[in-house]
Every structure is written in C-alpha cells, then in structure tokens.
C-alpha cells in the first residue's frame, strides 16, 4: 500500500456564511505528482492553506507524513517547499532573497552559498543580478520554484506554477517538475487551470468542485474511460452511414484515451475553467 505523505479528512472551512471547503478528503502518496484541478473559487488554494497551516480549519484533520498533532505538524511542514504567489523582497536580488530564506531555514556560510547556487542553477537564474522588482513574470515564477526546492524538501506544493508563462516557460516548468520527482524523489502537488498541461505533468489527479474533492483518479483511469474514436473525416455519422450503405467496411480506426479536460467537464459540467 502506498505511503500517504499528505492526507486530508473531512476538512471544512467557512468564511462567515460562505462555505469554502465542505468536507475535503484527499490523499497524496509518496512519489506522486498530484494534479489538483478546479475552477477559480473551487477551494484549491484554501486546501493548500490548510496543509501549510496558514488558515484554521473548522472541522476535520490534516496529516503530514503521518502526523496530525500540532507540534509534529510544525516539524513536518519543514519537509514542504511551496510556491504560492511571489513572496520576495523587491529590493533584494534573487541570491539575496534566497539567502534570507536559507538562513531562516538553518543554512549557514558555505553550505548556504552552495545550496543557493544549486537551486539558482536548476531554474537558470544563477547569473541574474538585478533586484526582484525588475523581474519578468517568468523570472518571478522561476525564483519562486527555486525557493520552493531550497533544502530539497520531501514534498513540493506548486500553486499555478505556469501562470502567465509563455509556451517555452510552461515546458520548462513541466520538465523541472518531472526532474524534481524522478531525480530528487520529491512528491509534488501542482494546481493548474491548464488541464492539457496538467495532464502531461501529473500521475494522479484530484478534481475539486464547490469545496469538495469530487473524484481522485489516476492516468490509468483516464485510459479506461469510454474511448474516443477519431476518424479523419468531417462528418463521422454521415460518413459511417454512407460507408455502410455502400457496403464499405471501416478497416482502421485510431482510438485515443479520454483527455483529462473531457473527463473533467463530463464530471463537473460546463466548458470553461
């Protein structure tokens, strides 16, 4: 059985009368790249806030590396690196910003310098000298990722890491996530609006809608759902009819698995995130 690194059980949260989470159950296992999917306001970020201890839950429990008590949760959160927005000082450079977090995390002297060099190299920001306030959105996201992987955390949480990135930037982030998972053994939770992108990144998916994780699925589940038959013709039904009437058999069909996007909209309804 897979080892659960993060587990939420019946987690509820309301702001006044507005219920944001209505009993979330989800489990992220060691080694997963877990994609969290949901439209704006579905509750994805609130789930992250619960895991990171930034918000108090009204009900339920959060477990990190098997612990649910407050003292151990604090300790185990040290095993999490996360990217949630850009939490940097505008007047400091990438290196200086990371130095602040590295020292706060307990790195000193040469070790701190080596660790900062390592993560800056991974995100290709090693030679950037200007202060953070002058960074493009892509550079800000890359620095956010560098900060998240500082100290090689066991678990990596990335909230919308491809937001505002160009196609090359998106591909870079995807490659980084795979590298962190495969090479460094990090368990990754990533949220995104871009379902097609997430489909190519994650192994497991949690679909959040109106404050509940309505379904958790794997890549294999997507393959097992109703196949889509693609025929290279403009009008499939008419084409089949015509072919049948003419006594012509279809000898080749290309079967594709259901896309994550199709699966999601079939489950939730609607057509746009």
């Amino acid at each position: 059985m897979s080892e659960a690194l993060i587990k939420l059980e019946d987690v509820k949260k309301a702001y006044g009368k507005h219920e944001v989470l209505k009993g979330v159950n989800m489990q992220v296992n060691k080694g997963d790249i877990y994609g969290l999917i949901g439209k704006n306001g579905a509750g994805k970020t609130t789930i992250f806030k619960m895991v990171l201890g930034l918000s108090r839950m009204d009900n339920g429990s959060v477990s990190i590396c098997g612990s649910t008590n407050d003292k151990e949760l604090y300790k185990n959160r040290n095993k999490i690196g996360f990217l949630v927005g850009q939490k940097f000082y505008g007047y400091l450079t990438a290196r200086e910003n990371l130095k602040y977090y590295a020292i706060a995390k307990g790195f000193h002297g040469k070790t701190a310098k080596e660790e900062i060099d390592r993560v800056l190299e991974l995100v290709n920001l090693k030679d950037v000298k200007q202060p953070f306030r002058k960074y493009s959105l892509g550079m800000q996201q890359r620095l956010g990722i560098a900060n998240a992987i500082l100290g090689s955390p066991e678990i990596l949480i990335l909230d919308e890491p491809t937001n505002g990135l160009d196609p090359q930037g998106i591909a870079d982030v995807r490659n980084m996530i795979h590298r962190f998972n495969e090479e460094f053994g990090m368990t990754v939770i990533v949220s995104s609006h871009i379902l097609g992108e997430l489909e190519h990144t994650a192994h497991r998916f949690g679909i959040v809608n109106e404050g509940i994780v309505v379904k958790e699925i794997t890549e294999a589940d997507l393959k097992e759902t109703e196949p889509v038959i693609e025929i290279a013709l403009s009008d499939i039904e008419r084409a089949r009819q015509v072919l049948a009437e003419a006594g012509i058999q279809i000898t080749r069909e290309i079967q594709e698995r259901t896309s994550l996007e199709d699966f999601y909209f079939r489950l939730i309804g609607g057509g746009n995130l």
């Binding site: 930034l54 959160r77 999490i80 927005g85 939490k87 940097f88 400091l92 977090y101 706060a104 307990g106």
Partner: protein, 236 residues
C-alpha cells in the same frame, strides 16, 4: 529562532532607510547640541535626546522589519515552512530590540563624544553612569512600546497601525494621561510610568521592582499579540 533573527538582521541592514534615519537622528542631535547651552545639554534628565532617538529609530525599524514583511508576504513562507507564529512574533521583537539598541548606542556615542571632545565638557563617572542608565531606560521604554504596538500590527496586519501607535504613545501618552489624571495614578500604571518610577527608585537607592512589572507587561503583550496572530487568516 536565532536563524530567523540572523536572517532578518542581515536583510534589514541592507536597507538604506535605517542609515538615512540614523544619519538624520545624529544631525538633529548635533544641531540641537550646538544651539543649546553645554551644561544644559549634559543634563541628560532634561535632555530631549531620548524622544528624538525613540522617534527616529522606531519609524525605520517598523518600516523595514515589519512593513516589508507584510508587503512581500515573506512571513507566510516562513510560517508555511513550519515556524510557529509565536516564535516568529518573538523573533521579530528580539530583532527590533537589537536594532533599537543599535540606535540608542549610537545616540550615546554621539552624546558622549560630542560633549566631551567638541564642547570640551567633563563627564564625571556619576554623570556617565546616569547617561548610560537613561539611554538604557529609553531603550527599555521603546521595546515595551514595540511589544504593545505589535498587538495592533498583527491584529490589523498593517504596519501603519504600529507606527501611529508608537509615535502617538511617545509624543502624547504622558501629556494626555497627566492632563486627565493630575495625580498620575493612571500614568504610573503604564509601562512608561513604571519605568519612570523604577528610575526614581534607582536614584533613591531602592530596588526598582517596577522594571520587573514592565517585563511582565511585555510578556502579556506578546501573549495577546500571539493570540491575535494565531487567529489571523493568511492570504496567499
């Protein structure tokens, strides 16, 4: 906690704001000294230097240590990585106390060097000890105000609330409370009043137990601030 303090000190000392305010503080102190009678200036009890230092130190420390954190959201990253909010609050207060101490030491050096070498004044050992005591009490008073102001800053998540509170308390607390209560019974219940009483106790050769009460006040402010901070919903 030491790591947090080190990280914050290193970061804040890179901000020019601190040095600009420190420079202005020295400039105002020297200009004030040049325009006053030397003997009057040497009387630390009648000197306004402590007020000047309190104002010129509090503003840049609040802006750089707390304001930058509220604005950048760096506290959120630190908390999300498993640092408790109480620990963070205490670490910030210790860091601000260290920075305040720096300002007060600078003021002492200016006060002493300026009068001894530039005005050719002679400080007896007793006068030197009194000056050191007054500088220390100014710092102690300021730390207590920071602890009180941190309650409002964490409750409102706003550094302006802290700046207004501290400046208001430095400038008006004594005047206002003495105006409404001439006997000073209310004023002497405040941290400022306690420190004044403690100073009188020292000068009359009594044990200044009031300083212990101020430490209890500061601890209570930390506990209350921590309760507000723990209830605070942090937005990503």
């Amino acid at each position: 906690m030491i790591n947090l303090i080190r990280a914050d000190l290193r970061r804040v000392l890179r901000r020019p704001t601190l040095y600009i305010f420190a420079g202005l503080m020295l400039l105002f102190a020297i200009l004030g000294g040049l325009s006053s009678d030397a003997m009057e200036m040497m009387n630390i009890e009648k000197n306004d230097t402590a007020y000047l230092v309190a104002i010129m130190a509090s503003v840049p420390i609040l802006i750089t240590l707390y304001g930058d954190d509220f604005r950048s959201g760096s506290m959120i990253t630190v908390i999300g990585r498993g640092v408790s909010r109480t620990k963070l609050l205490v670490a910030k207060l210790i860091t601000s106390s260290i920075l305040l101490f720096g300002f007060y030491v600078l003021a002492f050096i200016e006060f002493y060097v300026f009068h001894t070498f530039l005005l050719n004044a002679y400080y007896s050992p007793k006068q030197t000890a009194l000056t050191v005591l007054m500088i220390f009490l100014g710092w102690f008073r300021n730390v207590a105000l920071f602890a009180f102001a941190s309650i409002l800053m964490y409750a409102l998540w706003n550094v302006a609330a802290g700046i207004v509170t501290i400046l208001g308390l430095i400038a008006f607390l004594r005047i206002l409370l003495m105006a409404v209560n001439k006997e000073g019974t209310i004023y002497y219940l405040t941290t400022d009043g306690m420190i004044d009483k403690g100073y009188s106790a020292v000068m009359t050769g009594n044990f200044p137990y009031q300083f212990i009460i101020v430490v209890v006040y500061v601890t209570a402010f930390i506990v209350i601030g921590s309760l507000f901070f723990k209830r605070k919903e942090l937005d990503l």
